[in-house]
């Protein structure tokens, strides 16, 4: 029998102050970055036009830039899409103009490529034009989707466990969603619909992780009445550790394959999920249990058989 991390007795609750430090070390610069640089929204959210071209011969990005400038697309972004023959050209909406502006962009891209490469030497493989109204709506909907799923999960966990568990799980998940958004800002990833999907998947994944640990907590609280909460929490995290390692090992390896083989559209998704797996594990081990502890202390269980003791710096390791 091959075993990893079984019968461990790590003191997760005891080292929570280091976890705070780690969170702060990521969140403070992350927040600053998010507030100063913000997010790089894709045209789905801002409105605008994207033209993806594939050329028969390699093109220099500078040459392309000059040609586009010459044809009036001065503000457009050019991004290499995997190779020096694939480029995505983005023109965000600048005040007014619906997708009719998109027609102009496509025509200008065609004209620039005609002049630099000659017609027939390239192909427009993708073209998207989004009006300003759609973009605004999408942003609202994305936010709403995240908030509503928080609400639904809170209700579900309140029914299946107890509302204190739900609240603790949500705070850990909120930590992950926020952290993931900071990661997206840090990596300058373009916020597309696929990325929103990735953020929601991180939400699901992190929750899944927390629920597995809380399920153990629920069980251990019934079974081991002698132990206090920090000890129960430590025991539960340690008991589920082999599963965490194995499950996320496989999850990370599938994410890695997606990042390597999945193509340009999927790659950012895989990056975000990769980060999400780590933050999900971290928050389930350090944020969710600690949050549960403080929530229980603030709102003690009524008629609980167990007195909630303050966490001691060195909590009794399980077994």
């Amino acid at each position: 029998m091959r075993r990893l991390f079984s019968n461990t007795t790590f003191d997760f609750i005891g080292v929570r102050r280091y976890a705070y430090l780690l969170t702060a070390a990521f969140f403070i610069p992350g927040l600053v970055l998010l507030l100063t640089r913000g997010l790089n929204y894709g045209i789905e959210f801002t409105g605008g036009t994207l033209v993806q071209v594939q050329t028969t011969a390699p093109v220099d990005i500078g040459t392309l830039r000059h040609a586009l400038d010459a044809h009036g697309l001065t503000g457009a972004e050019i991004q290499s899409f995997g190779s020096d023959r694939d480029y995505a050209i983005r023109a965000r909406l600048g005040g007014g103009g619906g997708t009719e502006a998109g027609e102009g962009t496509v025509a200008a891209v065609r004209a620039s490529l005609d002049s630099t490469l000659g017609s027939g030497q390239y192909q427009i493989v993708r073209h998207e034009a989004v009006g300003p109204k759609v973009g605004g709506e999408l942003r609202q909907k994305a936010l709403l989707a995240i908030l509503l799923s928080f609400g639904a999960i809170l209700v579900y966990l309140a029914i299946r466990f107890e509302w204190r568990f739900g609240l603790a799980a949500i705070s850990a998940t909120a930590h992950d969603v926020l952290g993931t958004i900071m990661f997206i800002s840090l990596m300058r990833l373009e916020v597309s619909l696929v990325i929103v999907g990735a953020v929601l998947s991180v939400l699901g994944l992190s929750l899944n992780e927390t629920v597995i640990i809380f399920d153990r907590v629920r069980e251990n609280e019934r079974k081991r009445l002698k132990l206090d909460l920090p000890a129960i929490l430590n025991l539960s995290i340690n008991e589920t550790l082999p599963r965490t390692v194995l499950t996320h090992g496989t999850a990370l390896s599938t994410m890695a394959t997606l990042a390597i083989f999945g193509g340009e559209v999927i790659r950012p998704f895989a990056f975000v999920m990769f980060f999400g797996v780590f933050t999900g594990i971290f928050s389930s081990m350090f944020i969710a249990p600690v949050a549960l502890m403080y929530i229980r202390r603030r709102w003690p269980m009524k008629g609980a058989a167990r007195a909630v003791t303050a966490p001691t710096p060195r909590a009794a390791p399980a077994d």
Binding site: M1, T99, T254, T257, F261
Partner: protein, 544 residues
């Protein structure tokens, strides 16, 4: 033993259903006929999984009522008029599976898989609708011309299909309103047993000027009608227009072809209002309409001349529904009685009238064009990532859990099968993010097995017997599996609710994947363990 057998039977049935829903089958699609350039039904064999636009290439358009040139009184009504109009033009797009869909009550989504030219698609959608009322060919001029047309076709070397009935106009149903064939229609005795190429395809319908064409013969009829020698012989002042729906009579389906007067008695410009209602007294469905004052005067004159004639309602060159009879002179206000037809049908007709009367200008708010090569690359990438992911997962599971890992991997095969079958069976669309969701859910599918195996190991470590450890391992892991999976499904549901096209595809594969992984982990893997235990009742150590 019996327990195992019934489990195996259940797995067998579910698996058989899954495989059945995935085997390539013949589906009917509309394709452009290379000869005539018109649309016809054709059948292809393919695996019944819908691919999203991002995987097969095509055009996605979102449209709203254009209010930039002044507010539109009722945008919701206007967009449904527009939808009705776009639907009648669906064949013009020339793609096999166009989607025209109203979303959120104020937005029209048009998806054209395989279409490459956005300008053409947009011009079809944004063209102003044209409604006209025309009297059908009451004198049967077209039918009278059929023998000459047949003769001309024969001269051009076109003969009827062998199976055709050897009469000029085949009488499908005897109808009193139709005059019996005159002598003129009788073919030459020398060619009595040779059917007319065109007339053999046409069956006289219930009203003058109406012909029914068997559904499968429509492309042939269309190709004949566009030939110059035929077009020349169609009587002056008569034009041919196809109906919109397929009607079934008995075992066969027919398209209606109408011979109508070339000059409309009135056009949509003169129409002001049209509403549908159900008459309380007679329990009839009725469409009431109001014309402009000028239109009223014209209509009064025309209907006065055409009492007891049939009037075809033509939107964009297509006859809508069955032409009603003009019972008496009609002025500014009139009504069309649909008899026992449903109110829905009446509402649809009223919508047609309004669409022709008040064209709804549409503005494009979102447009996406994806080239077919991009989709092919994406599928190839997805398959590559999938295979690599599976190899890694299999390696990890088998090297860590040994024989139990092998069983879990075996269950994974069922999991993949069920997920794909779910996509196909419920008619969901596989998109590029959906492919990512599928690869991601392979990882998630493993989680349930890992939870169970870790529990079994714990029970074994606690000194329990193998049989008991397996039983309790499955039982104890259940709570965690259900709770975590329900949470995953809850978030995916919101994603589905919020998402458009591609993201919806991601949510769908994720939901299906989580459900399938629960079923396989709890039921299929369990069954494998039961069989394993039964085969080796004396097993001392479990390979886990």
């Amino acid at each position: 033993m019996r327990n195992i057998r019934s489990r195996l039977i259940t797995i067998g049935i579910v698996t058989a259903l899954a495989i059945w829903s995935l085997i390539p089958r013949t589906t009917t699609v509309r394709v452009r006929d290379p000869v005539t350039g018109l649309m016809r039904d054709s059948s292809v064999r393919r695996v019944p999984i819908n691919l999203g636009l991002d995987l097969q290439g095509g055009i996605h358009l979102a449209l709203e009522v254009d209010q930039s040139k002044g507010p539109v009184a009722d945008p919701k009504e206007a967009i449904s008029r527009a939808e009705r109009v776009v639907r009648t033009r669906i064949d013009e797009f020339g793609v096999t599976e166009p989607v025209v869909q109203l979303v959120g009550g104020d937005r029209l989504i048009v998806e054209l898989p395989g279409e490459k030219d956005p300008a053409r698609a947009k011009s079809i959608i944004q063209r102003t609708a044209f409604l006209e009322f025309r009297i059908t060919d009451m004198q049967n001029l077209f039918r009278a011309a059929l023998p000459d047309i047949d003769k001309a076709l024969r001269a051009a070397g076109v003969t009827a299909a062998a199976s055709a009935t050897p009469s000029a106009v085949s009488q499908l149903f005897s109808s009193d309103s139709v005059r019996k064939k005159g002598k003129k229609a009788a073919p030459d005795t020398s060619q009595a047993n040779q059917a007319g190429a065109l007339s053999a395809l046409l069956y006289q319908g219930g009203i003058p000027g109406e012909f029914l064409v068997p559904e499968e013969q429509r492309p042939v009829a269309e190709s004949l009608l566009v030939r110059p020698e035929v077009a020349r012989l169609i009587p002056r002042g008569i034009e041919l227009r196809w109906g919109t729906q397929v009607e079934s009579r008995g075992a066969r389906s027919y398209y209606a072809l109408y011979a109508v007067e070339a000059k409309p008695i009135i056009t949509g410009e003169e129409l002001e209002k049209a509403t549908a209602r159900r008459d309380q007294m007679t329990n009839q469905s009725i469409v009431e309409f109001t014309l402009s004052r000028r239109g009223g005067r014209i209509f009064e004159r025309e209907t006065g001349r055409h009492v007891n004639d049939y009037m075809a309602i033509i939107l964009d060159g297509k006859v809508q529904g069955t032409p009603p009879i003009i019972k008496s002179q009609i002025g500014q206000r009139g009504q069309i009685e649909l008899g026992s037809r449903s109110l829905e049908e009446a509402n649809d007709l009223a919508l047609v009238l309004r669409a022709g009367a008040l064209p709804a200008p549409l503005s494009i708010i979102e447009e996406r064009t994806i080239g077919p090569s991009l989709g092919k690359d994406a599928i190839a990438d997805g398959i590559k990532a999938g295979i690599a992911g599976v190899i890694l997962v299999v390696t990890i599971m088998v090297s860590y859990y040994r024989m139990s890992g092998v069983l879990a991997v075996l269950a994974l095969v069922f999991y993949a099968l069920y997920t794909l079958a779910g996509l196909s069976g419920f008619g969901f669309t596989l998109t590029l993010p959906g492919l990512a969701g599928f690869v991601l859910s392979i990882g998630i599918a493993v989680d349930a097995n890992v939870l169970i195996f870790e529990r079994i190991r714990e029970e074994l470590a606690a000194g329990k017997s193998i049989r008991l450890a397996i039983d309790q391992g499955f039982a104890r892991a259940m709570n965690a599996i259900v709770d975590s999976n329900v949470c995953a499904i809850l978030t995916a549901l919101f994603l589905f609710q919020f998402g458009t096209g591609p993201v919806k595809g991601f949510a769908v594969t994720l939901i299906l994947g989580v459900l399938a992984s629960m079923i396989t982990a709890i039921f299929v893997t369990r069954t494998f363990f039961m069989i394993w235990l039964q085969r080796r009742p004396t097993m001392q150590t479990l390979s886990i």
